[in-house]
Symmetry: C2
Subunit: 407 residues, 2 copies
């Protein structure tokens, strides 16, 4: 296929070095611990260049070198392992209809502290901003003095304009064009503005990097919250669509002249597998629908109505399988609690409607990161600036977070 206008090669040496520094850090960040020999192989650079980059990351307080843990004997000089050090962290926030979660996540991806709280019932963005900052104060209390806050990442169940973090539309919060990144920036005086992402997109990102989709270039993450959205990775890259609206899988036309959907249409897939439909099928009272996953965890056997939901889940997945040919489909949110109850019915619905060739390739899975996919995706989003250019990011990072979050 013809090249699509790639520009000529000609790069500044310092830019290349910073790019490579960030790439090395990215490998260590995702692996947690990795040998220098493996870094050399993955980067396609020579040993001395890698050694120099690793030394620079060490001097920045981001990584450290340790003796390899195993006792394997191999030819030549033994390699050295590189692992992350607790010198940098991000604050990740998951804004859900049923609550708020904030975590402090260290370089390397481990959750160092976590706090959860209710979401203000008004769903007022300013009030939610206040609550998020209160939770942030809780998770930074015991942060090490020499650790730097390098980013803030936030998941919102809605459509986000990436460049400025405007929430274009979040139906289940009742938000239209809410400048939520700015609302947070007004409360947290870090140099870098908080970065926002869509919940399903972030779930897909985290599962791709650290969960059920590691090494998988074609993956769909379904976020079952109130409705159903999808984060899609194709050919190793996020599927965005021409306006950033891709992944609205809950609104697949599913049942002709079916139930009215909150989007205004009839018969969307979501009317058959959304939280209200499942609640009805399992007898979950209306006031507990927001915590449907907990209710489902208490169900021991699927009723015929719930099995119908499972079959409809599989039939809709077949649409995605035939169109996108993914390798893995991760069922997140309440679908994670639903799947074990109705996996046979999901498989039956999928088998009846997916073509054989893509059906044979796809694996339906619960998240590898449990209930943390979206939260950890928000953390990865926040680490983006550090991994693009560690030197520049650390130069403006925040070392006195408690004062920054002072009310």
């Amino acid at each position: 296929m013809p090249s699509a206008g790639r520009t000529g090669v000609g790069t500044n040496q310092e830019d290349v070095r910073r790019h490579n520094l960030g790439t090395v850090l990215g490998h260590v960040h995702r692996a947690g611990r990795i040998s220098r020999a493996e870094l050399t192989a993955r980067m396609g650079l020579n040993r001395s260049t890698i050694a120099g980059l690793v030394t620079e990351l060490e001097s920045l307080g981001l990584t450290e070198q340790v003796k390899p843990s195993g006792t394997r004997i191999s030819a030549g000089r033994p390699s050295v392992d590189v692992r992350t050090r607790a010198g940098a962290y991000v604050l990740a926030t998951d804004v859900r209809v049923d609550g708020l979660t904030v975590a402090r996540v260290g370089i390397g991806g481990a959750v160092e502290a976590r706090a959860t709280g209710p979401i203000p019932s008004s769903h007022d963005p300013e009030a939610i901003g206040d609550s998020v900052v209160e939770l942030m104060r809780l998770v930074v209390k015991d942060v090490k003095a020499d650790a730097a806050l390098v980013g803030i990442g936030v998941s919102v169940p809605g459509i986000i304009r990436a460049e400025d973090g405007l929430v274009r539309f979040a139906p289940n919060l009742g938000w239209h064009d809410v400048p939520f990144a700015q609302i947070l920036a007004d409360r947290i005086t870090t140099p870098g503005r908080p970065v926002l992402g869509n919940d399903a997109d972030l779930g897909a990102l985290a599962e791709h990097l650290r969960g059920a989709g590691v090494g998988v270039d074609d993956l769909i993450y379904l976020s079952g919250e109130v409705g159903v959205g999808a984060g899609v990775i194709v050919g190793g890259r996020p599927l965005e669509g021409s306006g950033g609206y891709a992944g609205e899988i809950g609104h697949l036309p599913f049942t002709p002249d079916g139930k009215l959907c909150h989007c205004g249409s009839r018969g969307c897939w979501e009317t058959e597998i959304g939280a209200p439909a499942i609640a009805l099928a399992v007898g979950c009272p209306p006031d507990r629908v927001a915590a449907l996953d907990e209710f489902l965890n208490g169900v021991s056997e699927a009723s015929p109505d719930l099995r119908t939901v499972g079959r409809n889940l599989g039939r809709g997945l077949a649409a995605a399988v035939n169109l996108l040919n993914p390798r893995v489909i991760v069922l997140g949110g309440y679908l994670r609690a639903l799947y074990p109850l109705v996996s046979e019915d999901v498989d039956a619905g999928l088998g009846a409607h997916a073509l054989t060739a893509p059906r044979e390739l796809v694996k339906v899975s619960v998240p590898g990161l449990g209930g943390d996919s979206v939260l950890l995706g928000a953390a990865e989003l926040a680490f983006g600036a550090l991994l693009r250019d560690p030197v520049a990011c650390l130069a403006t990072a925040c070392h006195d977070v408690e004062s920054v979050l002072a009310s």
Copy 2:
């Protein structure tokens, strides 16, 4: 987002030069004629480098420099236009259920000669290979003595294994695992093996490069032949899926417990908008279904049944719009003839089921390349080797095509 393991930068100068040479040629090939100033701007290289590359392409017989055609006055030295020369061509083949088309397509993308013929009714691959070669002989009769055959591209309505041109499955030809690239290679002794592609993927490619999707990074091309397939471009790149099976949009689950589909499932979208369904709705006799587009061209007004097909077409498109958020949907094959008859119904079906935000961004269109999208996509596929490395490709190109095609 973290970088996905890009290796360190460090490239051979000669590789870079050849890459840039191919990229310049690609710009001229797609534009037909382009100023050197514009090439300089698009490539991000300096004027003297561009001048050197253009001179090399000229010495290879691929392009020539001419005075600009316009009378615009601009500051500084006037630029020079570069246009393609008839020094290289490909042979493009479109294998359809209703016939065969072969074209000689010159660098620059113009069809220089074309021949069509029936497809052997047995659909026997060897017999089809013979017919293709006979058509090729017709289109090369008046080829210029100094022109080089640089590639052979073939469209097949099926799933292709890219690396060796094995047709995994072409339901409407009854093919399973047919080595059609090898069958052609056995008959045409050019150095390069024929390159095969899926019809819808090639339609999408050509419409993206030269048709209704120029400058559009998110595009869907629907090939209405007997069934309906999709070629999808997302973020400027073809959507392939984990096994190359993506785009099977005809098998979207559409009508619960609907009509039996040839794939073995029930209620696929294709059972409502495929050629047999349309033929039934317009009273097209069974022996003319293969040329349904011609029949539709003779229909002046849509019957209520045909309008239902149009509405179902729109409802299915809504699934693609909500999931993929394309900028353009191109209706190819018989859908091109159908659309003008039922465009209001298509719009109504789409409007009732697509979300507002992606609906506002998408344009439904007939092909910019008329009935030639797939054929020209096969030509683009064939030009791939030349555009990747003009020097290496021309070194092995064929200058005596008539002997190569001798029986």
